[in-house]
């Protein structure tokens, strides 16, 4: 492996990559064996968006079923399988790898001035482990007694007793968990070891902080659910009664162990997404981010507090009153660092020179949707309210506002923001904005009625309902149609941009962080022509212009 093989060619060109094994001639095998972090990130993006659309279509079928009371498309059992499939794909195959696997891979090393992640071969292996896990998950659609019907949470004892193919799904979740752990491990070492000289932790871009906090959750929380799934597997095979109350086990223990991972997992999803927000807001306000340290540290403290609040999922599951009280109390604390972030972003925009590009629109839209998602979360952190609202559409609407309206919207924001870095081209801004408005309107029409339906008692995961809820389901259905056409249009615009877009240049947004100071766009194989010395803060603007300028041949500052 040569030391600096920058030929000035784009990393997307044939042959411009390093390989895990050998030197394949065919372009296809070059992609399959690549250890370049950018290519691996792109492959993740391709795969997770395919899964995303599969899960969206499953969700649409659920909406069609719910258009009227009674059974239309599904009977009860296949409805259970449908929402499990939707949940498993969205959670394990799409949103958990989501931002870290795509932008953590493509952008994070660029941001810290590294040539690759710390363990590029491990990164390659991790990608294929993810694919392997995905294949296992999908195989359970056609093997055994059909896909699992337990919901993505696999709650015991039902998951231990159902005769659908839970075993395969558990194995898949375990393998995907391994992939997630290894991704986090790789990023942690990368961020600790490969930062450009001079870049201390408080000179890192905030997205890197988000990835760093996330990586700790991936590393330390995932093994807990991994072993829980293994225990559930053994329980299914040998019946020793670990989680089965009829055999002396305690299903609440399963829920404890499951949520010890799965609650931090939602912060694992949202923290890097918040990182994207923290990149976009200062760039398109042309102002240095307000309260850099508080945003950075709030990421760390959300990750920390996130470990301590899992019990709020168990308020109605037979947890002791003492634990309920403690967990309710602790849960409120998550709102504090999250609030800090929001005020910092708003304060950044204050008196800024706001430019409403597509990424900025997505970021601003998310501010609305995520605030709704976040604050409704605080309402159900209260035990009393939760008894009423748990497992209703209120909760469904809450986490879709937080996950889809937070994480996925910001993932799309990042997709538009870093599009020029990835492909060196620009999409049609006008059309991309239309796509945003379609999505934003469709999203709200789709999910807002569910708050009301849930508040009035529409239970979650039912394939049938009382006639009085029909109006809400029908509004939702039309929202879903708008939303899905918005999604399709957005991807159409992006793919058109990929194919026929105008060359973007290296820094179309006048941004400041290192991924915009590459010698060419798309970047060459080993990224920056030289590793810069970082003696500046990540978002320095003066009178709306970036302060730091580089000579891209030597990567020395020339401002």
């Amino acid at each position: 492996m040569s030391n600096s093989s920058n030929s000035g060619k784009s990393y997307l060109e044939a042959g411009e990559t390093h390989y895990a094994i050998g030197h394949p001639k065919s372009v296809f095998m070059q992609w399959m064996l690549t250890i370049d972090h950018k290519r691996i990130g792109l492959m993740y993006a391709a795969v997770i968006f395919v899964f995303f659309f599969v899960a969206v279509l499953v969700a649409l079928s659920i909406r069609i079923e719910l258009f009227a009371p009674g059974a239309q498309l599904f009977d009860g059992d296949s409805y259970n399988q449908a929402f499990t499939l939707h949940g498993v794909i969205m959670i394990f195959l799409f949103i958990i790898p989501g931002v870290p696997a795509v932008f953590g891979n493509i952008i994070m090393p660029l941001m810290i001035g590294a040539k690759d992640v710390s363990f590029p071969r491990l990164n390659w292996f991790t990608f294929w482990l993810y694919i392997f896990g995905a294949l296992i998950a999908l195989s359970s659609l056609w093997t055994g007694n059909g896909f699992a019907d337990t919901g993505w949470t696999f709650y015991a004892p039902y998951s231990l007793n159902t005769n659908t193919n839970v075993i395969t799904t558990l194995v898949a979740a375990f393998v995907l968990g391994m992939a997630s752990i290894l991704t986090g491990l790789n990023f942690l070492v990368t961020i600790h070891r490969l930062r450009a000289p001079g870049m201390d932790f408080f000179k890192m871009p905030l997205f890197v902080w988000g990835i760093y906090a996330t990586a700790w959750i991936q590393l330390l929380a995932t093994p807990v659910v991994g072993i829980t799934l293994i225990l559930a597997l053994l329980e299914k095979m040998f019946g020793i009664g670990i989680f089965d109350p009829s055999k002396g086990g305690d299903p609440v223990l399963f829920e404890h162990l499951f949520w010890i991972y799965s609650h931090p997992a939602v912060y694992l999803m949202i923290l890097p997404a918040f990182g994207i927000m923290s990149e976009i807001i200062p760039v398109f306000s042309r102002r240095e981010v307000f309260g850099y340290r508080t945003i950075a540290l709030s990421s760390a403290s959300i990750a920390g507090i996130g470990y301590l609040v899992w019990g709020h999922h168990l308020f109605t599951s037979g947890m002791s009153d003492l634990a309920k009280t403690v967990f309710s109390f602790l849960t409120f604390f998550v709102a504090i660092p999250t609030g800090v972030k929001f005020y910092d972003w708003v304060a950044t925009m204050y008196k800024g020179k706001i430019i409403l590009t597509t990424p900025m629109l997505w970021a601003l839209g998310t501010m609305i949707t995520f605030v709704i998602g976040g604050l409704t979360g605080v309402t159900i952190a209260m035990i009393g309210a939760d008894i009423h609202l748990q497992d209703t559409y209120y909760t469904v609407a809450h986490f879709h506002y937080a996950m889809l309206g937070g994480v996925v919207f910001l993932l799309f924001a990042g997709l538009h923001y870093w599009f020029p870095v990835m492909f060196g081209k620009m999409y049609d801004e006008k059309k991309a904005k239309i796509a945003f408005y379609l999505n934003f309107v469709g999203f709200n029409v789709l999910w807002f009625p569910m708050f009301i339906a849930g508040y009035q008692g529409m239970p979650r995961r039912y394939f049938d309902y009382l006639p009085e809820f029909q109006i809400y389901h029908q509004i939702s259905f039309f929202g879903a149609l708008i939303f899905i056409s918005g999604l399709a249009y957005m991807f159409y615009v992006l793919i058109q941009g990929m194919k026929h877009g105008k060359p973007s240049g290296t820094n179309p947004w006048h941004a400041t962080t290192l991924e915009w100071h590459l010698p060419s766009s798309p970047p060459p194989l080993e990224n920056h022509s030289k590793v810069p010395y970082v003696d500046f803060r990540p978002y320095e603007y003066h009178h709306g212009e970036p302060v730091v300028k580089f000579d891209y041949k030597t990567m020395k500052r020339i401002d």
Partner: protein
Amino acid sequence: MSHEYVPEIAVDRDGKKHEVQGWQGDFYGGKLGFWLFMLTEVMMFGAMFLVLTYYYSLHTQDFLDASAHLNRLLGGTNTVVLLFSALTMGLGLLKMRTGDVKGAKTMIWATIILATLFLGIKGVEWTEEYTHGVFLGLDALQSGNEHSRPFGQILFYGMYFTMTGLHGFHIIIGIGLMIWLVKRIDAGKVSPHHHILHFNIALYWDLVHLIWVFVFPYFYMIGAGDVTGGAIHGH
């Protein structure tokens, strides 16, 4: 592969030179990465110990009764075997670092032999338990039949086989890693100046030992005071 790697130099505005850390040949990075991996093992076994403690607090007497019937002689022997294997592994690494490659290889082989011995003893122990009808999937560890043990005992034995089995799996992986390590040393890929692989496998072996340090008292010793026993007394 990374022998020729020369780190890049970044120059700051005052003309001072700063060495850039590359991902190639990063000894500390390799060490940090492996420690982080070991933390995931800690969380994994930590969660299993949590399950164990949870049911210990629910079914205390059953746990003590079941524990009393485990074979402390074989378990104790295995503890000592692992202890010595940790020593040979450590000394092997020390020899590698001080340039004695041949001695290092001898020590690794010694560790492999001790590890195999551990597995052999474990096998004898499991066989013995199997012949007494105590094994995953057998009637005694299923509830609702005439041979069923009480709930707490079933949980105890279930976790015992799960955890010692998973630990044994780690031993097998360890043996594989050590054989691989010997091959890498023979191929000249691991040498006194490039011994990160040896270093990490030694760490792994210590972790395997470390887990046993808790597995052993948790299963074999907690009920030791109740009965004089050694071998399983059956029904």
